[in-house]
């Protein structure tokens, strides 16, 4: 990692040649040689990358100042010893905010390729990095993956500065700290860790730093790349790192003592530690009235159960446990299954796979063909399969309710876990019936309780159980009753001191 750095040359021409050679004479590099001083005494080179730097401001505030505004005599007066020319330029001539010295090629290239302007003077072995980045960005738009009815509509964008600003706008406290690193040998991606000092657990912050420092990869293109490096259980279907594109969700997490990881180039911000129940909590739970928030949250757990188990239960009941279906329903299902050539399990697997194909196709294909596919999909999966006698109507209903339930989840990641495990449970159900499902559920619970996210038990506050935190787990109590922060996450658990809303005494 720590290579010996190549110092800059004295000769401007040599530096120019070196830079050109290193960059393979790429055509988007602009190298401008100008002369400044009364009689053009000093040869100066200005380097920037077209498109990454802000050209108008470069012309207005750097070149114009140097070439026209400055009376060179001023400089010459100041510069009796040559070495002070740089200082004089810095002090009097550069009408820009961010300016840094540079003395070696490695720093020079990083700055140049980040969009900064490099300023070198002939005869000096150091130069300036002038902060002049201009990033093409999408702007703040409404998040597409996590939408709400009531709540803020801004979403993160690909620019990390915009993202940090969106969070700072919500939490205006000096204890909101941000630590940055560069990850990726080639991509040199800017990664920032944000947390509230004194609320977040220092041990977790330290652990996160050490995990991030261990990453050695050429490029980070999305937060998922970082997530895979730092998550606790690599092969579990359950996510142990949370991601969101909503600034209000990140702010709420920071206030709870969690830590956010912002990565340049993606609107998805990671949050750790991530616990199981967190994936069922939507920011809107807190923006709606408490009763509705609680009921909707319970509904989500129910829907997760349906999306995980509905086909498995159906298969188990109609192949092993006919006695638990009421007679009229049994006869009705039996009538639908007359003439269906496949066993119930195969039927369920076929339907689930068809549905997964439809879903994946719906995601990947060009938007314009969308409506055509949904017609074909709905027709094939719904009507035609039943009428052709391949699939029973009851199975279509079960698969449909399963599919709809899996979309109820406010985060995509936990729905994926349900999707994967559903097939496993269907297999167990077809072999062992309800007993198999019971054993499977026990195994699932064992697995869940064995998980942890950055040292925090994944199933907290259910296991280990914490009575006080049940106020914000399956249900949400009114916000003035939520006195404390999650105790497994934050070391400073007092959120507010007085429970009831202020009243007259």
């Amino acid at each position: 990692m720590f290579l010996k750095k190549t110092p800059l040359n004295l000769e401007l021409q040599e530096n120019i040649q070196h830079i050109k050679k290193k960059l393979g004479e790429s055509s988007d590099i602009i190298i401008r040689e100008i002369r400044i001083g009364k009689e053009g005494t000093f040869k100066v080179g200005i380097f920037y990358i077209d498109g990454l730097s802000n050209t108008p401001s470069l012309q207005n505030f750097v070149m114009e100042t140097l070439m026209i505004d400055i009376s060179i005599s001023q400089i010459e007066n100041e510069e009796s010893p040559n070495s002070n020319l740089m200082k004089a330029l810095k002090d009097y001539a550069m009408t820009v905010g961010e300016i840094k010295d540079v003395a070696n090629f490695e720093d020079l290239f990083t700055a140049l390729l980040s969009g900064d302007v490099i300023f070198l003077v002939d005869g000096y072995s150091d130069g300036f990095i002038i902060g002049n980045k201009h990033v093409i960005e999408r702007g703040v738009t409404e998040p597409t993956a996590q939408s709400v009815v009531r709540g803020p509509r801004d979403g993160f964008s690909e620019n990390i500065r915009v993202n940090t600003a969106l969070i700072r706008r919500r939490i205006k406290d000096p204890s909101l700290w941000m630590e940055s690193k560069e990850i990726g040998r080639l991509s040199k991606t800017n990664v920032s860790i944000m947390y509230i000092n004194g609320v977040a657990d220092d041990k977790i912050v330290k652990e996160l730093h050490s995990r991030l420092d261990r990453i050695d990869i050429d490029g980070i293109l999305e937060s998922a790349n970082i997530e895979e490096f730092i998550q606790d259980s690599q092969y579990s279907p359950f996510p142990t790192v949370y991601n969101t594109e909503r600034p209000d969700v990140v702010s709420a997490a920071l206030l709870e003592g969690r830590i956010a990881i912002l990565i340049d180039g993606t609107p998805f911000v990671l949050i750790i530690p991530a616990l199981f129940v967190q994936f069922f909590q939507s920011s809107e739970d807190y923006y709606q009235r408490a009763i509705l928030g609680s009921l909707v949250r319970l509904l989500r757990f129910l829907a997760f159960g349906i999306s995980l188990l509905a086909p498995a239960l159906f298969v188990a009941v109609i192949t092993f446990h006919h006695e638990i279906i009421p007679p009229a329903l049994l006869i009705s299902i039996a009538a639908q299954r007359e003439g269906v050539p496949f066993p119930a399990f195969i039927e369920a697997v076929i339907m689930e796979i068809i549905f997964e194909i439809l879903r994946e196709a719906g995601l990947r294909m060009p938007r314009v063909i969308g409506s055509a596919m949904s017609i074909v999909g709905a027709f094939v999966i719904g009507t035609a399969a039943v009428e052709a006698g391949l699939i029973s109507a009851a199975m279509v209903i079960v698969v449909s309710i399963t599919a709809i339930s899996s979309f109820v989840s406010p985060t995509y990641d936990i729905a994926i876990a349900g999707r994967i495990l559903r097939f496993l449970f269907m297999g167990i159900a077809a072999s062992f019936g309800l007993f198999g499902i019971m054993v499977g559920l026990i195994a699932l619970i064992l697995h869940l309780t064995s998980l942890s996210s950055f040292g925090v038990p994944y199933m907290a506050p259910i296991a280990p159980y914490s009575a006080s935190e049940q106020k914000d787990t399956f249900i949400r109590m009114p916000i003035w009753k939520l006195l404390s922060r999650p105790k497994y996450i934050s070391k400073n658990s007092v959120r507010q001191k007085y429970p009831a809303p202020t009243r007259k005494d």
């Binding site: 049994l330 039996a334 299954r337 072999s431």
Partner: protein, 396 residues
């Protein structure tokens, strides 16, 4: 290494699966089972649903909603296994609704049937048992029904409703009859089922195509068992009195005469009965304490119900009526059947266990001589939406 061993072990687990798996379209869903005995052989008839015909989704092809499969064997189980010779699907008894026993077999004894249906793992204990009155079980299960297209469901529901609304039948599940047969000082009863009309045409589709079916099923009388053998039948009125004594009345109606001719009808909304035994002069006696409350539902005579005396008078009349009916059924059972279906013996066993031990061995003769005192108390609460009978207001 650990994982390499674990994986085959997990695969082995799945080898054990599926052995009792049954797809729905491999099953013959049996709703009713009928057992007869002809020439020392058990004849078994099972009513199997034809799912496509019952389902509301497709119209069906006009077949019968059920089919009757028959086989015989030297035991009930053997006969049922022999069904596989005539049925393309395995019989499934988990949703059995009714078991019908032919009258002649019931007279011989029903223990072997009860043993099979209570031992067989698939069969639950919540179906109703009935006795085919004056016919065979096969013929009962061979009648098409309307409203409920599956005859077994139809029979089940008729029995259920009549027990709840009229109380002169008795819906007896397997669990109940076994308890009655095994209990000391108590004998069992079942309800009889009877075919009205033309037995032969009941099976055909024409039976349900006309407004008035040519053959219909009807709950008729209560079959009195002594131990496991059918010994006789109670009439409807006796059946109701039997239900009153044994505290099994949910709701019913009571009919009695006015002093000056005509009838009054009472809807009995609550009827409780307590059996007590006491020893008088070394002999056990039974006291039956009946409490009835109800509302007047129909008056067919000239009385003024707005007066309290009238209500008192009606209550008195009805009390006498109930006492008369109850005494009569006790008389009939004591004289004709000598079977303690009321549970007098059990009542003595409860309150005088020592005396019971002495008379236990000759209880059958003791029962037919035991003295039973009946006391009924009737409470009439409401008389409907009008006060006095319409008759009174009609001008001559």
């Amino acid at each position: 290494m650990k994982k390499r061993i674990l994986f085959p072990i997990i695969l082995c687990l799945f080898l054990a699966g599926c052995w009792d798996k049954k797809e729905l379209n491999e099953l013959a869903i049996t709703m009713a089972l009928g057992v007869d005995k002809i020439d020392d052989e058990y004849h078994v008839s099972v009513q199997v649903v034809v799912p496509g015909e019952v389902s509301s989704m497709k119209g069906g092809s006009g077949q019968s909603p059920v089919t009757l499969l028959q086989a015989k064997g030297s035991t009930v189980n053997e006969a049922i296994r022999n069904l596989t010779k005539v049925s393309p699907r395995t019989g499934y008894f988990g949703h059995l609704q009714i078991v019908v026993i032919g009258e002649s077999l019931a007279q011989e004894g029903i223990t072997n049937i009860l043993d099979f249906v209570s031992r067989y793992y698939e069969i639950r204990s919540d179906f109703y048992l009935l006795v085919a009155k004056e016919t065979t079980a096969e013929k009962i299960l061979n009648v098409q029904t309307v409203l409920e297209r599956i005859p077994a469901n139809s029979i089940f529901n008729i029995l259920h409703t009549s027990e709840h609304r009229l109380s002169n039948t008795r819906a007896v599940t397997l669990a109940k009859i076994i308890v009655d047969l095994e209990r000391e000082g108590k004998e069992g009863v079942l309800t009889g089922i009877y075919i009205m009309g033309d037995e032969e045409s009941g099976s055909s589709k024409q039976n349900v195509e006309s407004i008035t079916p040519t053959a219909r099923l009807k709950m008729d009388g209560i079959a009195v068992f002594k131990e496991d053998k059918l010994v006789g039948w109670l009439t409807d009125e006796e059946g109701k009195a039997y239900n009153v004594i044994t505290d099994q009345v949910k709701t019913t109606i009571g009919t009695f005469s006015c002093p000056e001719g005509g009838k009054v009808n009472v809807h009995v909304s609550k009827s409780t009965s307590k059996l007590k035994s006491k020893i008088v002069d070394g002999k056990p006696e039974i006291e039956i304490d009946i409490q009835i409350s109800g509302n007047i539902e129909e008056i067919d005579c000239q009385i003024d119900v707005t007066k309290e005396e009238t209500i008192k008078m009606l209550e008195k009349t009805y009390e006498e009526q109930v006492e008369k009916n109850v005494n009569q059924v006790i008389q009939v059972v004591q004289d004709d059947f000598q079977s303690d279906i009321f549970g007098f013996g059990a009542a003595i066993h409860r309150s005088n266990p020592k005396e019971w031990e002495e008379i236990k061995s000759q209880w059958d003769t003791e029962f037919s001589e035991i003295k039973a005192t009946v006391k009924a108390k009737v409470n009439i609460r409401h008389f409907g939406t009008v006060n006095n009978p319409i008759q009174e207001n009609i001008k001559d």
